[in-house]
């Protein structure tokens, strides 16, 4: 099963390396990791999706909490949350087939952000399922390149974002 953790860390150089190093060094499996500044510039929020079971995730949280640079860990798994991912997909497309691609892009409410003679680039934002579905639909045209941000999540409402699932042992 995949677990989503929202981790607040000090915004220092090397902190991301500390976290990814800890997870890989202890054999934990990261599906995706996305980091960015928060409302407080001295704090970075990292959203990571980790594969495992309850016991493994419990260890991930405890080990992360041991790091001095980690300020707070919130487990968003199973908590009502807004989940998004952004993907850029470069699709092979001759002039004759462009219309088909545009049609699919329309249905998914995605956007074409670049066009060249033999390809075009699609930008899609949404929950993981939607991104996956679009990529699946574009495959027959020939996918040249995919860039994905990894999932970002935010708990719905105020109570969840502040306290829900918080891990501060």
């Amino acid at each position: 099963m995949d677990y989503t953790l929202s981790v607040l860390v000090e915004n220092h150089p090397g902190v991301l390396a500390k976290i990814s190093g800890l997870l890989s060094g202890r054999g934990f499996n990261i599906r995706s990791i996305a980091a960015g500044e928060t409302e407080d510039p001295s704090v970075t929020r990292i959203i990571m999706v980790v594969a495992g079971d309850d016991r493994i995730i419990d260890q991930v949280k405890k080990q992360l909490d041991r790091l001095v640079d980690v300020i707070r860990i919130t487990d968003l798994t199973g908590i009502p949350s807004v989940d998004r991912e952004l993907a850029l997909v470069k699709v092979s497309s001759s002039v004759s087939r462009r219309a088909e691609v545009f049609q699919i892009v329309d249905v998914f409410r995605a956007k074409v952000v670049d066009i060249a003679h033999k390809s075009l680039t699609v930008e899609v934002t949404g929950e993981l399922g939607k991104v996956e579905a679009l990529i699946e639909m574009l495959k027959p045209f020939g996918i040249k390149e995919i860039v994905r941000t990894g999932k970002i999540s935010m708990g719905r409402g105020e109570a969840v974002a502040e306290k829900g699932g918080e891990s501060r042992a």
């Binding site: 001095v68 501060r168 042992a169």
Partner: protein, 599 residues
């Protein structure tokens, strides 16, 4: 109007404001900070990037610097100092090779939770990342073996960082903290700052155990018929030996300890079972296998302790007291976890237990009787000899002649396990041994650290001839500072522990474990300016030790011991601790414990 920068100490507040504006160099700030932290000794080795620190050092006569002969010696000496005193050890080395040479020692301290602040020099900030001379990314290298590490990029941050480093190293679950100091940060200037208040928002160790959990734990203890306490290094770090004794006596609970827990409970106490695990006593391993309640305190269920997890305390409920939440339920699922400092938690458990009176204690009698039987059936033992020195005999004589009061450092291997078994430690902070990482070459420098802290106590390094050669250069350090360390080499002309495995599990195919080619340790000691002694027959052992103890300076004793002697009991790797080889005559591990599972 006088300007005060962040309240520069009380004495300075009375002087003029101008003083507070005065700038200090990074080197001065470093040593000012050390004085404030109460640092008395630094173990170090100079080099290009730290040359300005060494230049400034002369102005701080209150701080003693010990010049080792290899940086690994410095970090182990700081570790030994910390283990023997409970204070934070300090180590100072240069960049590049100086920094990489301490990595083994940092990992050693990290595994055993030893508080050390390590200062490494670094190339100047503008050179970082350019593969400059003697540059190494020590922050990256030590990321997974430090409790925390810092690269200081601005002299103005230095005082705060050092304050934080000492705080983080010594509180919670202690550990090594590394501070990387670029050359221009050391030479740079900043206003004198005295950060009395500081906040590390990601670091807040829980020390007070949860009252509800403590009550639950006591209820478990009262309910249990066959409880055992399994105590680790946390007892030592917490200074909880008296509370542990009170809990054992008040609850009538037998106690086993890990290698790092030795000395946390008196080795001659009737409730003491000895060490548990791979080379644990029959009594300890059997009691743990049979118990219905295991009370783990400041221990982390290391694989050398538990053996195969499925058969470790199979019918027990488990209470786990630990200051590190990540240790709880890491390897073994725990029924009653209590996060916090052992000292206050045990004290509160004892208080609640006392309120129950003493009547129920009688119900413990059958269990204590059963445990006594285990100890009587298979006590720690070896076959004495008139012809060849038995290593265990040497350790027993060291124990006798030092009245069990010496500080004993060990290297790693057979001699380490024999020391754990036969030197009955009765006081905390008297055994210095690399448990988690198992670092050969640890003992001699660790003994140097301990002897620096306690010049008047007897400090031994019990060694094998393999381990001793790994940091033998530190004999020069011992000679230079006139440290009367007694090194007892139990010389079996082989890498004994690996040889033992090869004998027992690899059909006696002895691959690369012979150390027949070795220096003459007596003359080697003399070459360094120490005294060398040798004993080849059992009758020479006591005179040799007595002579060594009568000499004021460092002594190396070369005991030529039985090369065939093995450490028993032994739980074969991959087996449960209910299966032990008890003596050489055992062909293979016997399941010596009749397993009983409650319905």
């Amino acid at each position: 109007m006088p300007l005060f920068f962040l309240g520069a100490g009380k004495a300075r507040m009375t002087t003029s404001g101008r003083l507070a504006l005065k700038k200090r160099t990074g080197a001065q700030i470093t040593f000012d900070s050390f004085l404030r932290e109460g640092v008395e000794v630094i173990f170090g080795y100079p080099g290009g990037t730290v040359i300005h620190l060494y230049d400034e050092l002369a102005n701080y006569p209150q701080i003693r610097h010990i010049l080792v002969r290899h940086e690994q010696g410095a970090i182990h000496a700081a570790d030994g100092y910390a283990r023997a005193t409970g204070k934070t050890g300090v180590c100072l080395v240069t960049s590049g090779p100086g920094a990489t040479n301490i990595v083994t020692g940092v990992a050693t301290a990290f595994m055993d939770s030893i508080p050390i602040v390590v200062l490494t020099g670094q190339v100047a900030t503008h050179q970082i990342g350019n593969d400059a001379f003697q540059e190494a990314d020590i922050l990256g290298i030590t990321r997974t073996c430090t409790k925390h590490n810092y690269l200081v990029m601005d002299t103005a941050d230095l005082a705060r960082v050092i304050r934080e480093a000492f705080h983080i190293a010594s509180t919670g679950r202690p550990g090594p903290v590394l501070v990387d100091l670029p050359k221009d940060v050391i030479t740079g200037e900043a206003p004198l700052e005295n950060p009395e208040k500081f906040e590390v928002r990601g670091y807040a160790p829980v020390t007070m155990g949860h009252p509800g959990q403590i009550k639950l734990a006591v209820r478990e203890i009262l309910k249990a018929k066959k409880p055992v306490i399994y105590a680790g290094g946390g007892i030592i770090h917490s200074g909880a030996q008296e509370e542990l004794l009170a809990l054992a006596e008040q609850g009538q609970i037998p106690v086993t300890v890990t290698l790092l827990g030795l000395g946390g409970f008196r080795g001659d106490h009737p409730l003491f079972l000895g060490m548990l695990g791979m080379h644990g006593t029959y009594a300890a391993n059997t009691a743990v296998t049979q118990c219905d309640l295991l009370i783990a305190i400041g221990s982390r269920f290391d694989d050398r302790v538990t053996g195969k997890l499925e058969t470790f305390a199979p019918s027990a409920r488990i209470i786990h007291v630990d200051i590190d939440p990540s240790s709880i339920s890491k390897n073994v699922t725990v029924n009653v976890p209590i996060v916090g400092d052992a000292k206050n938690i045990l004290a509160r458990m004892v208080k609640i237990l006392k309120e129950q009176g003493d009547v129920w204690k009688a119900t413990r009698k059958p269990w204590l009787e059963e445990v006594r039987q285990y100890a009587a059936e298979h006590p720690l033992d070896y076959e004495p000899s008139q012809d060849v020195i038995k290593p265990q005999y040497v350790i027993q004589q060291i124990h006798r002649l030092t009245r069990g009061e010496a500080i004993v450092a060990t290297e790693v291997g057979q001699h380490q396990m024999w020391t754990a078994q036969f030197y009955r430690f009765t006081r905390p902070r008297t055994i210095l041994s690399s448990g988690g990482l198992g670092t050969m070459g640890y003992g001699l420098p660790a003994a140097i650290g301990a002897q620096m802290a306690f010049p008047d106590r007897i400090v031994f390094d019990i060694a094998g001839e393999g381990s001793f050669q790994m940091n033998v250069q530190e004999l020069a350090t011992a000679v230079q500072y006139r440290l009367p360390i007694k090194v007892a080499i139990l010389n079996n002309h082989s890498l004994g522990m690996v040889r033992q495995w090869q004998e027992l599990f690899f059909d006696k195919r002895y691959s690369e474990t012979s150390l027949d080619v070795q220096p003459d340790f007596v003359r080697l000691a003399e070459a360094y300016g120490a005294v060398g002694l040798r004993a080849e027959r059992p009758r020479d052992v006591v005179p040799c030790l007595k002579k060594a103890l009568s000499i004021q300076g460092p002594v190396v004793m070369d005991f030529i011991v039985d090369p065939e002697e093995n450490v028993f009991p032994m739980v074969p790797p991959g087996h449960g601790i209910d299966q032990m080889i008890l003596a050489k005559s055992d062909k293979k591990a016997r399941r010596v414990v009749p397993l009983t599972f409650p319905s």
